[in-house]
């Protein structure tokens, strides 16, 4: 069975347009969320400035920004950065592009005056537009599985590489902030009006954020490659919009992913800062005997980037392993879950070999991946 390694990566977010800019910003404690007004309502949310996105897009691609949606521009910039730093052949039958998103170009439903054809609201159309820009020969694969989409896309890539179906897979996860998602999460009472506080006692909910993140996953080990040791998903079979109180699905993922019962050096959790998610995670980690492992959540820097989150946060896991750095879980002050967790309170240098990444989402889905620096 072939192995799978993560190589070049990119993050397009309000905190920067390269992995380095993002990693450095977060190490400096920068937070992407600010107050923004959407249709007369103010939300604490993390968005990329349109003007900046268009400027960089024109500079990098020489294309007309009016012909692409915000999401497409973010994805194209993200993939372009990954490809610029690699020598893979996108035209090869052995190269695949996997696109993960929850809502894609959902803003097209809101903006009837848009010059973009309405059909681009279909997720496969969006993926085709992005793929066509780079000239991938294989048609793109599209994964849309709520908030585990990005991490699930990485798991699927690993399985395809292990089975020797491809040599290189580009996984891109992306979602934008829209009136659609903001009003929806607001109607559920799930939004925090201040930067969110994962795992903290006074947490009040999530912030939404937007990002596109991409990673090249290959069957070849190269310098700095981080191995995907194992990955798994599982369903709670409990509730469509709330996590299992016993952390059933996530616990099942942990059992499958932590082969030989070896604990990881650190955990990058889902940590959305809702009462129920963070509580569920503490229970699942405790059931798996991981309550003493150093844990962080990146939602306090970026908000919840939905379909991008699993990829964006995985990029942080691999950078953390490469640079021997554990990022502080910003927003956390006091233990706020029934099981006490070992939350990272400051960004520090620590030699790490393995990292566990987890995600959970609506529809009762959960996913976990174990990364290893070889």
């Amino acid at each position: 069975m072939n192995k799978a390694f993560l190589h070049n990566a990119n993050i397009i977010s309000p905190l920067g347009f390269t992995t380095k800019q993002n990693f450095d910003a977060v190490c400096d404690g920068k937070i992407a969320m600010q107050n923004h007004t959407f249709n007369g309502v103010t939300y604490c949310t993390a968005i990329i400035e349109n003007k900046l996105l268009d400027e960089v897009f024109i500079q990098q691609t020489k294309l007309n920004p009016k012909e692409f949606t915000r999401l497409e521009k973010m994805c194209i910039l993200s993939i372009k950065d990954v490809l610029n730093n690699s020598d893979i052949d996108v035209k090869s039958k052995r190269t695949l592009f996997i696109f993960s998103t929850t809502k894609g170009n959902i803003d097209l439903l809101e903006n009837t005056k848009s010059e973009i054809p309405e059909e681009r609201v279909y997720l496969h159309k969006t993926a085709e537009i992005i793929a066509a820009h780079f000239g991938f020969t294989n048609k793109p694969m599209v994964v849309s599985n709520a908030c585990i989409s990005g991490l699930l896309a990485i798991i699927i890539a690993k399985r395809l590489l292990a089975d020797n179906q491809y040599d290189n897979i580009i996984v891109t996860g992306a979602d934008i902030v829209s009136t659609f998602t903001l009003s929806g999460f607001n109607s559920l009472g799930a939004l925090s009006s201040n930067p969110c506080k994962p795992f903290d006692k006074s947490r009040t909910g999530i912030n939404l954020g937007e990002a596109a993140a991409s990673v090249l996953i290959s069957n070849q080990q190269k310098e700095d490659g981080v191995e995907i040791v194992s990955g798994s998903s599982a369903n709670d079979a409990n509730h469509i919009s709330g996590p299992s109180r016993t952390g059933e699905g996530l616990y099942k993922c942990l059992q499958k992913v932590l082969v030989h019962n070896t604990a990881p050096d650190f955990i990058n959790a889902h940590g959305t800062a809702t009462e129920f998610n963070d509580e569920m995670e503490s229970i699942a980690f405790n059931r798996a005997g991981l309550q003493n492992i150093l844990i962080n959540s990146l939602k306090g820097y970026y908000g919840h980037t939905l379909g991008a989150a699993g990829v964006l946060e995985s990029v942080f896991c691999i950078e953390g392993l490469r640079q021997n750095k554990i990022i502080a879980s910003t927003g956390f002050e006091k233990q706020g879950t029934s099981i006490e967790l070992n939350i990272a309170t400051k960004t520090e240098n620590k030699k790490s070999i393995t990292c566990l990444k987890t995600a959970s989402g609506f529809g009762g889905c959960n996913a976990a991946v174990l990364y290893k620096m070889n």
């Binding site: 496969h124 694969m141 399985r159």
Partner: protein
């Protein structure tokens, strides 16, 4: 070891089929899914809270997952791999109409394609692997390929295509597993390959 399609269901043109047998046929109606639910006597009131995509999936899954030989499989080893073209677009449009005035939380929670996966999982206590793929048309190769990869670790996979739009309701679910002593007498085995999957879908 070969894998087999052990059971399948189809909803098309106001008919529900299970393994080539017509289970339910509803005449001209605007409420085909509800009428089919009533004809099956499911006694699952939660059904009425669901969006059309979830209703379609739950109805298709019911025939397959209540079969005795399938009911006995370990629930944590059954995966669910679904696909469609529209994601949750019909419900997205319905929610978007409410969002400027009174955003509806009960619609919003259905604005993801994999909520139907959750509804099927809840009804039948299935806790295995999940994946939802978006494809422009029914793609037997993709479903077959990923299902075979999952069957290296899972016991069985519930797969298919669930598509709803203003005009059409197109559901096709099939259950892929291994030949066992308990199921071998009962089922007409169909080998799990893209040709057979396509044939079952288009027939």
């Amino acid at each position: 070891m070969s894998n087999y399609i052990l059971s399948y269901t189809k909803i098309k043109n106001n008919c529900l089929w299970h393994n080539d047998k017509l289970v339910s046929k509803i005449g001209e109606t605007d409420n085909f899914l509800e009428e089919t639910y009533k004809s099956l006597d499911l006694a699952y009131p939660k059904f009425f809270k669901m969006d059309a995509l979830s209703k379609l999936g739950v109805l298709c899954a019911e025939q397959i997952l209540t079969d005795e030989s399938i009911r006995l499989l370990p629930k944590e080893k059954i995966a669910v791999v679904l696909s469609n073209k529209n994601s949750s677009l019909q419900t997205d449009v319905a929610y978007a109409k409410t969002m400027r005035d009174f955003p509806s939380p009960s619609l919003f929670v259905y604005t993801l394609p994999n909520i139907v996966t959750g509804e099927i999982a809840i009804k039948h206590k299935i806790t295995g692997e999940n994946a939802f793929f978006i494809e422009p048309t029914f793609n037997a190769d993709l479903l077959h390929n990923y299902t075979e990869l999952l069957l290296q670790e899972s016991e069985a996979v519930l797969c298919g295509w669930l598509s709803i739009d203003e005009k059409t309701c197109d559901g096709f679910l099939y259950f892929v597993g291994k030949q066992t002593e308990s199921n071998q007498k009962k089922i007409n085995f169909i080998k799990h390959n893209p040709t057979n999957i396509t044939q079952l879908y288009t027939n």
